[in-house]
Subunit: 311 residues, 3 copies
């Protein structure tokens, strides 16, 4: 029923964008619908067959986040889902790591001069005045996982296309937006080391068992029904309590920003530009055929065979 | 066997109160028995059908805590349980939030001038020289949950009357004694956001699965047997090791006191006095018939129907 | 297959010790084999029937750790296991707590003047440039558990000989190398209090359920197969990413060193030298027949009967 409703009322970022002029170019990769205090945001990067977290998505997310920051009463819950059922977000666009790459976006976030643009995006999600929920169908890797960890809650379907991974160590990097640090809080130190150092996939059932996500559902319908009911319930409550409660929980469970800048963001930036890091970026772009819909993107993190292609 | 023993040897706060004169008025809401280093404290607020965490309970808890602070060898374990099998503690007395409310208790704890009286009570439980165990039968909500989170350990029966919730967000507040912060350490960031922002109930089985409580037991007898054995075992050991171990664990797992004061206690105080907060306090007192034994108190946090009465 | 290979290629600390001269006397309690970036280190204290964590093991660990600190590319994963299938590590040598005890080792680590030698050993494991994995067969108690908690990952077999405990509270002490603090991050505050204050055993299945270890396996073969595959996979990746990722995870999940020094190491040192602490050390040496292979060492932490022998 939910999916039927969805087809009827899809509106491209209209209700909110009336309020604030978009600061970044708009690419239409996020479709939003709003009803009774809940904003559903479906992310579908039509420029990429694998829903790449690239400049198009980042620009649209930047605009959406700025609108949400300014709207602390009308919208009380934001639900992020993916329009591509094979990929929620596979990872960042590795082209952005190549020398001479030019983006239409600023390198650093104007509101957070110490935070690079993608790191600022996910950091700012943690402090939105709304409750935020990630509804996961499809693969979640790299900054895709950092995106969902920055949301307040995470729910997934048990579809085999759902896989969670931080793949940076396999590429000679570390998790640049603090993904490993958020995981350490959710799944403990030992399991974080296991998944992040090995860059392997967790399926939805395992992820729910160890606390990576809140819950896994047998079907897409059950997943969406549960989340829409939860969102509708939270949206009944005054914004003032939601905002204050988020601040309190963040203060004791979010990585400290200076630690995140130094040991995630800056370490990532440095490692991607070492000879080893540059070599692996080039190899990655080659074996993925520039991040096209391929066996590598579909199955990376599953078996040793694919991993061994790389380093 | 334990329950039979209990009926035989109930003593109203005598063994300990010989040591120290009670600082606060005594209301007899806590019955204590002591044996072989274990103090069993049964809380039964005879002024309230729902075992309200009100001035009577707070005064008696204040006296008990002061006695325990001074007794660091004779008693090595304290077991808190409820004499009301439907309610462990439902929440604070909302009348205390009304303008002009007068309590026989000081507003701030004399030993902790930055801590309001109820916040000081639960904070001081965390640093008692004794091991502390909450044995949960009946509903635990609001400051009731903050009370059990401040104990070292939590065990519950699987009775349907056992429900855990932080309900403050639904009333436009935040958890004033740090309940959400303790939960973030126990059940992770994502599940804390889910339960606290939605103000919904967790049953005992779920609570044990996600780490909210240590363990859930099929029957009341199994629950009490397990806890009494555990308490008796800990009470065999010297106080010096219990005290030092508690300090070490607290140092890495308890919310920092300045964060708790600012983002829990003070945020709560502020939000309860906004127009929205005052309106919801009045509505709460109305729909609960001044916190009487009612469907709202029994089932709050279960279904959307009751929630919708409110805001 | 793994165990057969192991018998063929055992080399006593040769490959690495060519690089650096050993700083401490060598006792041959650690046998190492290296292959494709993975160092397998089997600990077998032939001076003790219970694989005591004594001066012999500590000297050999000290040498191994110094070699690993200097080798940040050739070895990328270290796997620690026990040559004694009944005991991984039972605890520290209690003789070292007696007045006048003399060790061939320095009292404080030369590289960490604030850390006693055993505390420095396990602390330094956390910051090795290699991924570290503990493969657990046999009992793990006291500093043995602190050793495995200092490793990045922990895997065990479900053999009845596998038991995990921090037994210090039962001896009037606290966990001197931060074991309780690491546990609080992995299994939560409530369960840490339960296990550490009661000094009781957790079996492998329970330990995996609550997050004390990563996973428990039905057989020794499955355990070793899983770990060797995991180690081989991580060893494919460049050291630079492993090192950076470990730094990030450590920064948010390891007890702060000043807290560990004050509330673990120094509290332990103080409590072992009180009259109660000295009395319990003497009793311990007596009931264990100086830590020989006995019912106490095999079953300590299981039943109240043995505990009651002691205090």
């Amino acid at each position: 029923m939910f999916s039927r409703l969805c087809h009827l009322c899809t509106i491209v970022l209209l209700s909110l964008s009336a309020v604030i002029a978009a600061r970044y170019p708009s690419f239409g990769t996020i479709q939003t619908t709003k009803s009774a205090g809940v904003l559903n945001a479906v992310i579908n990067n039509t420029f990429s067959p694998i829903n790449l977290f690239d400049q198009h998505v980042m620009a649209d997310l930047g605009n959406l986040i700025e609108e949400l920051q300014a709207n602390d009463t009308d919208v009380r819950v934001v639900v992020f889902s993916s329009g591509n059922k094979d990929f929620f977000f596979p990872h960042i666009d590795s082209n952005s790591l190549l020398p001479g790459y030019e983006s239409p976006l600023p390198k650093f976030d104007p509101g957070n001069p110490n935070l690079s643009f993608p790191v600022a995006l996910v950091w700012n999600i943690t402090q939105l005045p709304q409750a935020t929920i990630a509804v996961i169908e499809g693969r979640v890797r790299g900054i895709g996982n950092e995106f969902i960890m920055s949301c307040d809650m995470r729910f997934a379907s048990k579809s085999p296309s759902v896989e969670f991974a931080q793949i940076e160590t396999s590429l000679g990097r570390t998790t640049g937006a603090g993904g490993a640090m958020y995981l350490a809080h959710e799944i403990g130190r030992g399991r974080t080391f296991e998944y992040v150092l090995s860059s392997k996939n967790a399926d939805a059932v395992t992820a729910a068992q160890i606390g990576w996500i809140n819950q896994a559902f047998d079907t897409s319908t059950e997943l969406h029904d549960y989340v829409q009911k939860l969102a509708a319930r939270i949206a009944l409550f005054p914004a003032q309590g939601i905002i204050a409660t988020k601040k309190g929980i963040n203060a004791v469970s979010r990585p400290p920003i200076d630690v995140l800048i130094q040991l995630a963001q800056n370490a990532y930036a440095e490692l991607t530009q070492t000879p080893i890091g540059r070599d692996l970026t080039n190899k990655w772009l080659r074996v993925t055929n520039n991040q096209s819909l391929s066996a590598v993107e579909l199955n990376y993190g599953d078996g040793e065979d694919i991993i061994e292609l790389l380093p």
